[in-house]
Amino acid sequence: MTKGKVTGVVGNLVTVEVNGPVGQNEICYILLGTTKLMAEVIKIIGNIAYAQVYESTRGLKVGTEVEFTGHMLEVELGPGLLSKNFDGLESDLDKKEGVFLKRGEYTDPLDKENKFTFNPIAKVGDTVKASDWLGSVKEGWVDHKIMVPFKLEGKYTVKSIVAAGDYGIYDTIAVLADDKGNEEKVTMTQKWPVKKAIKNYKEKPRPSKIMETGVRVIDIFNPMAEGGTGFIPGPFGCGKTVLQHAISKNAEADIIIFAACGERANEVVEIFTEFPELVDPRTGRKLMERTLIICNTSNMPVAAREASVYTAMTIGEYYRQMGLKVLLLADSTSRWAQALREMSNRLEELPGQDAFPMDLTSIISSFYSRAGMVYLNNGNTGSVTFIGTVSPAGGNLKEPVTESTKKAARCFYALQQARADSKRYPAVDPIDSYSKYLEYPEMQEYFKNNISDKWVDLVLDAKNWVLRGKETKDQIDILGDDGVPVDYHIVFWKAELIDFILMQQDAFDAIDSITPLKRQKYMLELVMEVCGIDFKFEAFEEVAPYFKELINTFKQMNYSEFPSENFDKYEKQVREFVDSRRVK
């Protein structure tokens, strides 16, 4: 292997003089005393390699020896990843000793001693290729497929495969042979470079199914598709993280991967603390059993922050290849972009807008394009749905990360300061936000067959009310309460009804925080029925108090179990109250 010596240090960028061939993005280790610091080559000029160190470079001296590994940053994939907490380089955080993180301590992602009960799927003599299922083990409740390593190219024949039984993760469970008779031993684990997409599937069609999140403003107004992409930009304090946590708690996914990328440590601690207690409303199991956390908080080394989103995506693709629905959440992709900026700056590259690297847009879009629903080679489907948050500087959406992401993601959940200030949570802007999936014919077909044939019309109608509400509000603000017809007030308050009852949701209320699609349908239909009614008011002063009371009763419905006596009681109240003002 190639070796080298450190010739310079500035921040976490080191220059290394090498004595042999070295590859772009190759991983090397800097031998600082008894510790090894991992670094990635990001530029090469002649025999000088520039490497970003995934650790603090304090005390590093010129002349320190460097060992190259010959491969890019890889993660280990196999049964036992779920429920774990990793850092950006896939070190198991729970295996690290002491309260403080020690530099150069890399721990195994998988538990070496673990044994799993293996059930073969493939038979001796079968022809297989990369990613085909050889067998499966139970990882908790997940059918974890043991696959032909993704790195193998071409066709192989199964020469032997073990019988059902308990095996260690590094035991050989199958032997494959290529057409020349070269043999490959397969264990339950394999490695894959994080910056390369796993592409062993038949095709990646357009998304055609809704990914239910339990968040009304998303499911009803801006639906996310299974295998879709979306992003949540918003100034600080608008509830990006709360919204993402709400999605992760309720989403209809088999696996949730949470990449905490350059954000607050206490937010991750919240997941560590709450998820083992919270129950997945769909399966009745603990949320932690389907969750995996990649955690590179803001005070952890910057370069590893960039790696963390790729690590998360690669693990997501791995589970997708088993035919599972994976939801990947990254908070926040702006921190990742900032890590890119810091490095580009140290490399003295010519900067683009706001000193971000020029290729920011292409880096972001190629990352988002790794999401999607796929048909695997065996006909099954699997998907990675990706939702990232963006933290725009100063809350201004005209900044490079937001703009680049807008080009790549199909759903846009803009969080608005004004809504957050008036505590209208989730503060998703009802007018600027969009989901392109609502326009997909495939998706419309799905809504028609699975929810109701009027669903899309009803949603568009509700959106239109909200827009009209805003327009009339502008008129009222200009002309005054008594300067406009009473009807204007009614339109405005109908829009408020939609806002308060359907768009706003209490993320901290046990019942309101989770709204299954069936309940959303019921509420949307009821609210829209009320919006369609003609009300009779003598003067504008009567409108606001009436609707406030109506909204209050509707809210009690949202806080009640569905279905329940209480719920019916409040619905009855709503109906009676509506009838009292209905134009006969």
Binding site: K61, V99, V269, R341, N345, A355, P545
Partner: protein, 440 residues
Amino acid sequence: MQGTAFQKIYTKINKITKATCTLTAEGIGNEELAFVDGKPAQVVKLEGNEVTLQVFQGTEGIATNAEVVFTGKPPVLKVSEDLAGRFFNAYGDPIDGGPAIEGEEREIGGPSVNPVRRKQPSELIKTGIAGIDMNNTLVTGQKIPFFADPDQPYNQVMANVALRAEADKIILGGMGLSNDDYLYFKQLFDNAGALDKIISFINTTDDPSVERLLVPDMALTAAEYFAVDKNEKVLVLLTDMTLYADALAIVSNKMDQIPSKDSMPGSLYSDLAKIYEKAVQFPAGGSITIIAVTTLNGGDITHAIPDNTGYITEGQLFLRKDTDVNKVIVDPFRSLSRLKQLVIGKKTREDHPQVMNTAVRLYNDASNAKTKRDNGFDLSDYDERCIQFASDYSVKLLAIDVNIDVDEMLDTTWDLFGKYFKPTEVSIKQNLMDKYWKGN
């Protein structure tokens, strides 16, 4: 802190800029502490045998033949119980005339806490200020800044919070503190009889600005000693972080780095996060809570410093003069404590979350009504009642001179609800209304 025997002394500097000097030396470690002509300096760049040093006090008067001594280690702080009650400069040397501290040397700016070894913060910090305790409850292990214009009394409020917070140790990191403010803190702590639990690291406006880059790390190294080794509850006060960030910008500019937004270095977010993320609740009971001050320019929070700070800290506290009642209040709209959810309604009374939200919503209705009035429109009866509620709420609860218990804050708010509103207008969950509603 000068060099010991056998240390090599360099006497040839190749390059001098305003903040840095470069010389040829071997075997030097990155971030190592050195002395140039007796002035403290730190290694910031190694390129072959060329070593670039950042001289904290500036390079004025340094000649090319100045003596350069390397200490072989990064900046350290000596820690022991003796730190309590003492005042230090940015290098951790006493400035109160007392003896030097004997104790274990700790590298400053040490490693981060493993996230899985943290405990979720869950202990309420009582300040008596309703604008904080009721609307923006603080929790041990939290990090939160005051966002305030320079003319607002943030240091006074912060000092009050510190003294009421029942912390085992209070560590003050003063950056660019005016001498008057420094003496204010000193006297206040002295008068409160709390001096023995206070440790101060002070860089005043008289001191070189780049020196203040060491202050937060010094303060937090001391904090970690008390929180980890002694399991104490430590409150760290950092004022003013804007001046800290300005010093960062000066250094990065001198190092020829490409500035990003507002002439700040591209690494500002990570630099600030390294400091603020030292706030932590340890499972063994010790904790570090950070209350900082970020001064604003004309209330502009989109500037890179408050903006990046807001993304790192767990909320922010805004002070504002309420001209209707002529009092400084904790602004209920722009202030936020992200960790309040962990304690309100759990460590405090069950009605706390809803009462808080409702009061803020009604206060918001009042401000809409005021806008309406200012634009010359007639106000409805509801608008009038909102405005009356708002001024009562401002005086009795939001003002920074309030000092009452949380239950009393909630009771007072229920009184106001009952006085001005109908049950349907407050729109609170029925079971809470049944229990606490005081109106008709």
